[in-house]
């Protein structure tokens, strides 16, 4: 039912059904081979692992574990990866703060510098490593979205800045990439806004951008090193805007346009489930139209205490995750986990619907779905809940449950996918010790 509302919002005036043709025509530059895509989706507070991990390794049994059941239609695209560890999310001498570290380490494989305010530092995230290298091939180098804005007040986790528990993607070691939370704005980012699509406005923008770049450069020269670093963030960001403007200006066919019949969403849904699904729809659109090949999507910030009343769980997620082995609470955690996998299933459905080459986008996708915490009660960072979804353009053989030796770094998975995205010359990412074996 909720799903229907989301669809209506999204496909306003588009008639019924998600007809496939809206996708087939999207060009991938000059190549005939569909590109690979890399997506990371994060869920907070770990998962109820007994309902997540299949009993057997090897080929997935027809019946999936309870939490993964919504994914049944995409079983052939799923690899369940057990045994991966985010060692840098452990205290390692820094004391408490597992939630902040879990999110901050997830894609960086680095230890977050413990600070509430001054001098945040972590590392570049896997998605940004790829975006930096191949991002210039698409309209957007990468897309970062999420359901939650930052936390509004108070500390976030035990002396760690909220930047750590609200940001999955890091462009530089002190520079998180803000996520867009409004589906309407995501649509604008993908297909451009009215002003971007008007050549006169674009020219005026280009002049403004040019002027402020000069301005920032001259300002930078007058500043001390720590201040200059802040201006560098500005310069990098404004250059990115400049690059996009230039790209839009090229008449090349790499400028995505909204598929026929697809109109921007009217507003950001107030219902949290609709909100998540509509964001998923937007991301699906971005991938389908090849506006970007790299994305991260945060279902909820780490340590989130959101109530899931709409699925019969009025308690706060984080409070529940400290379940103390109480079966009632564990069942509720499982319910939240299953709700999130149902959103994932919705997203995969969108991607599967659209044909691409001989198959669909899932054939070319590499999607990592999971959390930087294993069991919310123990705050452990080994035995993480991790799914890898998609065939990666034939480079991944899914439909299996793979169990890795204890302490295998999660970063090994990142390294393997960075490699599969065609980024060469990277031999290490965070605390990686090599590539993951056995994925193909």
């Amino acid at each position: 039912m909720n799903n229907q509302i989301g669809r209506r919002l999204f496909l306003r005036g588009a008639g019924t059904g998600l007809a496939l043709p809206w996708l087939e025509s999207m060009a991938w530059g000059n190549t005939k081979v569909p590109p690979r895509r890399l997506v990371y989706i994060y869920i907070p507070n770990g998962a109820h692992m007994p309902a997540w991990t299949p009993a057997e390794t090897g080929a997935l049994a027809p019946e999936l574990p309870e939490t993964l059941r919504p994914l049944a239609p995409y079983r052939d695209y799923i690899s369940v990866l057990s045994g991966l560890t985010a060692d840098k999310a452990r205290a390692n001498g820094d004391g408490p703060g597992d939630h902040a570290r879990a999110m901050a380490t997830f894609l960086t494989g680095r230890q977050a510098r413990k600070t509430a305010g001054a001098d945040i530092r972590i590392g570049i995230s896997a998605d940004q490593v790829v975006a930096t290298k191949i991002g210039d091939r698409t309209h957007l180098p990468s897309l970062e979205i999420g359901a939650d804005k930052g936390l509004n007040a108070g500390g976030c986790d035990s002396g760690y800045s909220c930047a750590y528990s609200a940001n999955l993607s890091w462009k530089g070691e002190s520079t998180p990439v803000s996520k867009e939370t409004d589906p309407v704005a995501v649509f604008g980012r993908i297909f451009g806004t009215t002003s971007e699509n008007d050549p006169t406005r674009r020219a005026s923008r280009a002049r403004i951008v040019d002027l402020v770049i000069q301005d920032a450069k001259s300002l930078r020269g007058k500043l001390a090193a720590d201040d200059a670093r802040k201006v560098d963030e500005y310069l990098e960001s404004i250059r990115e805007v400049e690059r996009r403007l230039a790209k839009v200006g090229e008449t090349a066919n790499n400028r995505p346009s909204a598929p026929e019949g697809v109109k921007p969403p009217i507003s950001s849904p107030s219902d949290p489930a609709d909100h998540l699904r509509l964001l998923a729809d937007m991301l699906a659109l971005a991938l389908k139209s090849d506006a970007t090949r790299v994305a991260s999507f945060v279902f909820a910030n780490e340590g989130s205490n959101r109530s899931y009343k709409f699925i019969g769980v009025p308690e706060g997620h984080h409070d529940l995750s400290h379940h103390g082995q109480n079966p009632e609470k564990q069942a509720k955690i499982q319910k939240i986990n299953a709700f999130h996998t149902s959103v994932l299933a919705h997203f995969l459905g969108r991607l599967k619907e659209s044909r691409e080459g001989q198959g669909n986008i899932l054939d070319n996708l590499m999607l990592v779905y999971g959390s930087g915490i294993g069991d919310g009660n123990r705050h452990n960072h080994d035995e993480l809940p991790i799914l890898l979804i998609g065939k990666g353009g034939g480079s991944i053989k899914p439909g299996r449950h793979l169990k890795y030796p204890a302490e295998t770094p999660l970063a090994n998975l990142h390294l393997s996918l960075i490699d599969r995205m065609g980024v060469t010359g990277i031999n290490r990412h965070g605390d990686s010790t090599g590539k993951l074996e056995d994925l193909s």
């Binding site: 408490p96 600070t115 108070g154 800045s161 406005r201 951008v209 706060g316 103390g324 009660n377």
Partner: protein, 609 residues
Amino acid sequence: MLFSILILATGNPSYAKDVVAFVRQHCAECHSGNKAKGDFKITLPDSESKAVELKPQWEKVAKVFRTGEMPPDGKNRPSVDSSNRFNQWIDEKALGVRCDGKPSPGRVVLRRLNREEYGNAIRDLLGIGFRAGEDLPADDVGDGFDNQADVLSLSPLHLEKYLASAESAVVLALKGQSRKRIGAKLEIPTRKDQLKPSIERFLRKAWRRPPEEAEIAKLIGISGASDSKPDEIFSAALTAALVSPRFLFIVEADPPAGRPDRRLDGYELATRLSLFLWSSIPDEALLDAAASGKLDTPEGIRAQTERMMKDPKSKAFARNFTGQWLQLRNLKNIQPDSARFPGITESLKEDMATECEMFFSNLLEENRPIVEFIDSKHTFVNDRLAKFYGFSQSKVRNAGFRKHEFSDEKRGGVTTMAGVLLVTSNPTRTSPVKRGKFILENILGTPPPPPPPGVLELKDDPGARKAASLRQRMEEHRRDPNCSVCHEKMDSLGFGLENFDAVGQWRVSDDGKAIDAAGLLPGGKKFSNPSELRKILIENPEVFADCLTRKVMTYALGRSLVAKDRCEVDRIVSDLKKKRWGFADLIVSVTTSEPFIGRERTDKPGANP
């Protein structure tokens, strides 16, 4: 006494006697070896010169020691004299803090406007009701506030939004202008020779200082074509000015070579003042004060601070500060279980926030003592909130918010306001732990460390709920010595508020069991109800004054306080005591303090490239 305030001893402490022996006697039992408690091990090098290099260690030690958190109750208490010498050694030797000279101002890294400030600045510059900040990504929070320079980062998404929002705002402002003049005095040039003065006026306000000739010339030349119309050039120039780093960042020059620090000039100070008290840019009067040198004296700063506190724009201070200090911004994300607590609508939550803001503004306006934050005989309510609280209704309906004098001792101060009680509860029940933690963090300034991982959780299933009250279950739970160190203090404080349910309404029973709001604090202080708890909390106003001053300074400066800021914090607190704790006096003390009016050179190597 629960929390000790430090009195510094004189004379030179010795490393061997006052540090090594002290640590061995009072800390090493728990904080050494592989099983060090709290994941914290104290290292004691042989030589003093090596010991002073362990700055982070001593910072941590100083913090828990000064607040009385360590050594925990039940352990041998060090004598006042040896404590003082130990503290003095940490301060002077390890952290390099000496309060006997000129206080050093500290350093804020180049900070950008946050979304509140950005939105307000656009409003004040262009005189339009356009809420420019709303589309921007949320600002990350550091040290409890969203205006902290270090964590305010910039991403391409920000720049895209700045650009789009500057375009829309300027178009909107110029369109509005052509119909009728509103608010700000934007003078749209119709002739080319009017461009320069118009742009100059705009830049002075937007960039918060008189612009240089070259800067104006660059903006006039923005169109690149000689046949552009003046209004088109004007519009492009304004847009560029609003995307420029000189608008988005708070630029302060470094001290000249060879000088450790400098006093901010009038314009820089004007910007700090307006961001602090208005979350916006300076108005004409403030810029004029800067230009005429009036901000170069403490008296001048005081006069402007007092004027600004009375201006309606200071509502932004009330809203943004209380929204974060009292965590009222989290009200939006809190959804109490509607089956248990019906009727908590968005408008009611908004009223709860307004109550705290009005209470805050009133203290500021009337320079009332800050202890009223902890215990007061009044609050502010509208009809809806009065009904919610069960207060006698005003005879005039729809009277809006007004002062309400309490007729009993049930409530008083922020810890009994519904907004605070609601954000420190779980959706289905109260959380004495969260409430206790809130008091420790935001009233007493002694945040507890978080629980170690893997600790057993409170039994909270229906069976357990039937068998014992929340309080009994928590007491049972607290027997674990690993937990009791912090929880004794935290839970006792929180239990003192048990007469307020999870949404802040008064109650005398919970799940059929009578509420017991009595408590015993470490050190032996007893209370039997919320009112007595409040009396204990204000017994030593210095403790709260220190906490509030630190919060206000963090907010005012946009940076974390560092060890040496203690000197100025201590001075402000002792000045304030002489002035009977007036809240407005506190604000003036902050705006005239050395960290607020000065800027230090970076101590990082490789500076000034």
